[in-house]
């Protein structure tokens, strides 16, 4: 990467209030280390322990969701196994954004679930979480399908998401949570 490119990225990050950005393969050890770094930042910047824990929790659920999905899919192309996660501070809010490749075939169901979560209020999300907790839906990778609901419960605004087509069979899925 040229010095000019680095400068541009750095300027963009500064403008967006980026605290941490990671792009690459999500191993559990990396998720944990980024989480530790995030907590140290939050400890310095945020006096409210519950707000810091909400940001950490949203980050963990998003990162573990992606890791579980990519582990399940075993994409052959190395770039497809890479994901990006960005944690930024904007005013008095924190924004956790993530992006990863999904199979085009998974898009409708994921979009449907996110739309449903988006249109549900706090009491409804609590109910949905409890129902999911009671349903025996644990998947082989260890997830229980509750991660997105948990993220939404900790957010100050409805989740934002988008899919950008990559090729015929794949899309880039972006999820943004404002805490």
């Amino acid at each position: 990467m040229t010095p000019q490119q680095l400068s541009r990225i750095r300027e963009e990050f500064t403008r967006e209030g980026v605290m941490i950005c990671f792009n690459g393969a999500f191993a559990h050890s990396i998720i944990e280390e980024i989480g530790n770094a995030l907590r140290r930042y939050l400890q310095e910047q945020e006096e409210k322990k519950s707000a810091a824990l909400d940001v950490f929790s949203v980050y963990i659920e998003q990162a573990q969701n992606i890791r579980a999905y990519l582990a399940r899919k075993q994409f052959r192309e190395p770039e497809a196994a890479n994901a990006i996660i960005v944690i930024a501070r904007k005013g008095d809010r924190y924004v956790v954004s993530s992006g990863n490749i999904v199979e085009a075939g998974d898009q409708p169901e994921l979009a449907g679930r996110l739309e449903q979560i988006r249109s549900t209020d706090a009491a409804g999300l609590r109910k949905m979480f409890k129902e999911r907790l009671r349903a025996d839906t644990r998947s082989a990778n260890g997830g229980a399908g509750m991660g997105l609901i948990e993220v939404a419960r900790r957010c100050a605004e409805p989740l934002q998401f988008a899919f950008h087509p990559v090729d015929e069979g794949h899309a880039f899925f972006c999820l943004t949570a404002v805490v």
């Binding site: 559990h28 998720i31 944990e32 989480g35 530790n36 322990k49 519950s50 824990l53 909400d54 950490f56 929790s57 963990i60 659920e61 573990q64 890791r67 409890k130 907790l133 009671r134 644990r138 990778n141 260890g142 997830g143 229980a144 509750m146 991660g147 609901i149 948990e150």
Partner: protein, 124 residues
Amino acid sequence: MELNIPRTGATPEIRWDASAGILSVSGESYPENSFDFFAPVMQWLSTSLPSLPGLRLEVSVSYMNSSSIKCMLDIFDALGEAHAAGKKVEVVWNYETDNPRALDLAEEFRSEVTFPFLVQAIGS
């Protein structure tokens, strides 16, 4: 039967104190695979609980990811069955007063069980 799982960065310490009859869970829980992590605890419960008069579960957990919450509920369900079978079962859930999320979590669990479940604030 012994149960002694040491604490790591993403997993809590889980210990059975046979002389006191206390099973304790303390730390944080966000392992990569919660079901694998909690499997030895479920195994221990199904092996040991039938021969015990009961047990007290002490939880001091400040954060759990969603799949750990699911596993914790499995533990409470096992305790609920033991309680229904006449065993003395109780839970003490400690939370730090400056962590309202841990209190919310405790209250959600408490609403799911029928045995004594004490939620207790500790200063931090």
